[in-house]
């Protein structure tokens, strides 16, 4: 059975279910307990699970991740929350080296079943330190799985799968989606990694949307249908490592056109990766270049005008789609 939940509560439900299911699961993060978490995802958990399992820490991102790594190596299933993905920049050696490479460096002896959760993305005028979309920095790192849920159901299902993973997983939540509502299956709902979902089938072009970009893509598809009679297929990869490239390629083989929508910076972005892969592997199917709509290559300004200008609207995405179709 499913009911309507917010993205925030879907995450909270996943945490509770995993805490209930597996005693090895514990949460570590800044102000996740007494303060309920900066975005209230961990609301009430301290009262219900106690301070052994819900561990408040000061702001020390690198060490928090490192502690999670060590605890994971010695048998626990820690879930570490970083208050904002920008804090992950201070912890990137622990993420990229300690967490992601331990299995490899030890020849398979060590296992780091660690989950790192963090919000990213703009929309609330938080300016240059709290608004960025950094999934591409995380994706660059081999040995690290990356999930980017865009719906409450996926938020729950991907987080639960992340907790069961033997490998470290970075679950990147979108700050502007915490309040978004959607149907969420009750109980054991696991979204497998590496399975994209076609959010809307279509014939004329394929739009791949990353994180909240998947929702913008859906809105753009509406515009394209309503105003131009065009049928866009919208794909949400849901996880970036593993990436379900076959589903994207299969779609492009049918539509012969691809547009990628992401909020991150364009240089080295996820869109660039997918564009490079698709044109490498399906060049002969493409009737035009793989196009991208990315965030502007600039820090995020505080001004809401500048913040908005840095991200394309659904209408602008629709325009880019028209351009991709040569119109």
């Amino acid at each position: 059975m499913s009911r309507t939940l917010t993205y925030r509560d879907a995450l909270g439900e996943a945490l509770r279910e995993e805490l209930d299911r597996d005693q090895r699961v514990l949460l570590i993060g800044e102000d996740i307990g007494a303060f309920d978490g900066a975005f209230r995802v961990t609301k009430g958990l301290l009262a219900d699970y106690g301070e052994q399992r819900i561990r408040d820490t000061p702001s020390a991102p690198g060490s928090i991740v490192g502690i999670g790594v060590g605890a994971a190596m010695v048998g626990l299933r820690p879930i570490v929350e970083l208050m904002t993905i920008t804090a992950a920049l201070r912890a990137l050696d622990q993420i990229a080296v300690s967490a992601a490479q331990a299995r490899f460096a030890s020849g398979g002896q060590l296992t780091v079943p660690l989950v790192i959760r963090s919000p990213q993305g703009g929309g609330h005028q938080l300016g240059p330190t709290h608004s960025h979309t950094l999934e591409s920095l995380v994706l660059a790192i081999p040995g690290l799985l990356v999930a980017v849920p865009s719906t409450p159901a996926d938020a729950k299902g991907l987080l639960k799968s992340a907790v069961r993973s033997e490998d470290p997983v970075f679950v990147i939540e979108h700050e502007s989606l915490y309040g978004a509502r959607g149907e969420v299956p009750e109980g054991e709902h696991l979204v497998p990694f590496g399975e994209a979902v076609i959010r809307r089938p279509g014939r004329d072009l394929t739009i791949v949307g990353i994180s909240r970009g998947a929702l913008t893509a859906l809105d753009a598809a509406d515009v394209l249908e309503r105003e131009h009679g065009l049928s866009a297929e919208v794909i949400d990869p849901r996880t970036l490592r593993p990436l379900d490239l076959p589903t994207i390629i299969e779609s492009v083989q049918r539509t012969n056109r691809l547009l990628i929508v992401e909020e991150g910076w364009p240089q080295g972005g996820v869109g660039a990766s997918i564009a490079a892969l698709v044109q490498e592997q399906a060049f002969d199917y493409l009737d035009g270049p793989v196009m991208r709509v990315a965030g502007a290559e600039a820090p995020t300004g505080y001004s809401r005008v500048l913040e908005r200008a840095a991200q394309a609207s659904a209408r602008e995405v629709a325009q880019a789609a028209l351009a991709a179709l040569g119109r």
Partner: protein
């Protein structure tokens, strides 16, 4: 934990003009925050707006220990520091409105405000990130043979981050004229302010790093100024880092982005009794340094200044969306070779050679 080391009453007051200036600046900060809070509620101001109601004494006291040539850095709780350092309230308010008339032309907002002319380097959104930057500023002064001091204001939350120890360690090793002012605001955002003995712990930690450590009553502008002036003097003349702990208490009323901690309902009254602005004003009146009417007049002037600031901010235009790439790089890098990569599917295509419709093959 909040017990001041030196009771406020023991510190003698500065000369009347100075005392009045301090009071009026505190009034300015208070009224500005009250208005900003309202305007935030009304949707005129966005983002995280960290108010400083209750920190007026520590902010004014600390900045009044500086000379014009000194440098100042603070946390995300930045706009009050800009005001205290002398930035135009209109420019500060316009920044909160995200307008071109803002100190940073609407790009930084409350958390990242800077005013270079006043040697206020900002406004730093990441907890602790400004500590090494402050050390670097102090290094630049020393290196260039100038007797400037850098003051870095931080919340106690930053002291658990490794940059605290790293920066203090390097500042001590390099004899940098750096004053850290740790605002330990109970009833704040982070949980650890609640930990008993945290101030003593920090003192031990800091002294363990070999740093001279002082404490002031952050609820008393006179004491804060006196202790910080001492710290600044030591930093300037002895060329070494000094840390000042300032226990304070922010108003326990809900604020836009610091939601109200639990169980503090009864504390509002208690806080009012300690309100640093009211107490300082009362004291000035009591000792005859200020007439009650004068006090009201100062307050009225402040009110007028702030309404002008609000009005200026409201009239100032929003940045033009086309200015998005301004200041990403300096003109020397940005002209010609570089242009922001605005990937909108089509934008850059036009900038390249005209495209043949057909392939050349």
């Amino acid at each position: 934990m909040n017990t001041p080391v030196t009771s406020a009453a023991q510190r003698s007051l500065p000369d009347p003009a100075t005392a009045r200036e301090w009071l009026q600046t505190m009034q300015l900060l208070r009224r500005f925050d009250e208005r900003a809070g309202e305007l935030y509620g009304a949707g005129q101001i966005g983002g995280f707006l960290h108010l400083a109601i209750g920190e007026e004494a520590v902010i004014v006291g600390a900045t009044r220990a500086l000379e014009d040539r000194d440098w100042l850095l603070t946390t995300f709780r930045a706009h009050a520091h800009a005001l205290a350092r002398g930035s135009e309230p209109a420019g500060v308010m316009a920044e909160l409105f995200g307008r071109v008339g803002g100190l940073c032309h609407g790009r930084g907002g409350a958390m990242h405000m800077a005013d270079l002319q006043r040697r206020f380097l900002g406004g730093f959104g990441m907890v602790g990130a400004h500590l090494p930057i402050a050390a670097g500023a102090a290094l630049a002064s020393t290196y260039q043979g100038r007797a400037e001091v850098t003051m870095c204001v931080l919340g106690e939350g930053a002291s658990a981050n490794g940059v605290f120890d790293e920066s203090l360690g390097l500042a001590a090793r390099w004899n940098l004229p750096l004053v850290l002012v740790v605002v330990r605001a109970a009833g704040g955002y982070a949980d650890d302010a609640a930990a008993a003995g945290a101030a003593a712990e920090l003192q031990r930690q800091t002294e363990g790093l070999g740093i001279k450590t002082l404490t002031c009553d952050g609820m008393d502008v006179v004491d804060t100024q006196a202790v910080c002036a001492d710290a600044v003097r030591i930093a300037r003349t002895e060329r070494r880092p000094v840390l000042v702990q300032a226990p304070t208490r922010r108003a326990p009323t809900p604020t836009p982005t610091d939601p109200r901690p639990k169980g503090e309902r009864d504390e509002i009254a208690a806080w009012k009794a300690r309100d640093p602005l009211a107490r300082f004003g009362d004291r000035l009146v009591e000792v005859g340094l200020l007439e009650s009417a004068d006090r009201a007049r100062l307050q009225m002037q402040v009110g007028a200044v702030i309404e002008q600031a609000v009005s200026f901010a409201g009239r100032s235009p929003h940045p033009d969306p086309s200015s998005l790439y301004e200041h990403v790089l300096s003109p020397s890098s940005g002209d010609g070779a570089w242009r922001g990569l605005d990937v909108r599917g089509t934008t850059r295509r036009a900038e390249v050679e005209p495209h043949p419709r057909e392939a050349t093959k």
